[in-house]
Amino acid sequence: MKKDLYNFAIRMGDTSWILSHRLCELCSYGPFLEEDLAMTNIGLDHIGQSEEWLKYAAELSDENIDADFLAYRRKEKEYRNVQLVEFPNEDFAYVVVRQFFMDVYNYLLYSKLTNSKDTTFAAIAQKSLKEVRYHLRHSSNWMVRLGDGTSESHERLQNAVNDLWFYTGDLFVMPESEQNLAKDGIIPDLAGLESDWNKMVMEVFNEAGMQKPEYEVLASGSFDGQHTEYMGFMLCEFQYLPNMLQDAKW
């Protein structure tokens, strides 16, 4: 039970953590100043959410560790984030689609988590939901703006949708650990979120003139620490300093 809670807290914390890293890579590279601020602000929100989850995970752990250890010192296989957030900032359309898919997911998941039997889960969800609502609004607007914009923006957005769709099956997998939590009313049935997720995504797709890809999505092993080939490079970057200077302070 405690291990299951830990696993899910890690799942949520790692997902926000990796996504925040991708968003913060955009700092000073945004298409224009205001969007640069917006993307990094959203990145900071994700760092905050990640910190809450990893703090709780550290409390649940039997080892003497803290949130920083979990963020910076684990091996690749020990991260349980969804694979979608690892996808690089190929171009701005990829940034928008990746964010939009995650925002819809987080919105549905956090809405349900506010009723969690675990009071810390419920509290984190309550706090995060306000931020997520804003993220969703921001990314949905960009979906429509790009999809319904010029022929180039439309084409680039559709390319990003076609590529990233592959990773969305990952969001709704229910391994044993999560099934146990769902049975106890601590988390919702993740597989049950899929139809609502599809509905919300399709509403925006329709407005943006996006076509839903026809192929089967990948139900990956991200719960067991399987990652895309991009993950190792990210770890190299953000783990380099903490590994070199183990006692480094902020």
């Binding site: 298409p31 224009f32 100043l33 205001e34 969007e35 601020l37 917006a38 602000n41 804003y134 609004r137 921001h138 607007n141 703006r145």
Partner: protein, 97 residues
């Protein structure tokens, strides 16, 4: 992004610090449409609890007095001190003022 200005039109941002207070000009942001303008304004000016309500308005929709017209608009009031309430002496019999 090169030398061309493709950041979209300017929008002026007004923030109300608490309910009932007047909206104060906070600055300006670039944006292509209304939704983007209010989001950009939020991300630029209200991250530190600066307000509870906000307006954005396209800068080009604001009618402003041109600096060269300022004399004609504002100076004539300079010698009309009787337009200030303090110009008048209040009779002793008047209470509650």
């Amino acid at each position: 992004m090169g030398n061309t200005d493709n950041q979209g039109p300017l929008w002026e941002v007004f923030i109300q610090t608490k309910p009932g207070a007047p909206y104060k000009h906070a600055g300006a942001v670039h944006a292509y449409d209304k939704e983007m303008a209010i989001e950009n304004a939020r991300d630029t000016y209200t991250r530190r609890h600066e307000g509870t309500a906000m307006w954005v308005v396209k800068s080009e929709d604001i009618v402003a007095v041109q600096p060269e017209d300022a004399d004609a608009f504002f100076d004539p009031s300079d010698d009309k001190i009787y337009r200030h309430p303090t110009f008048y002496e209040i009779p002793d019999g008047v209470k509650h003022i």
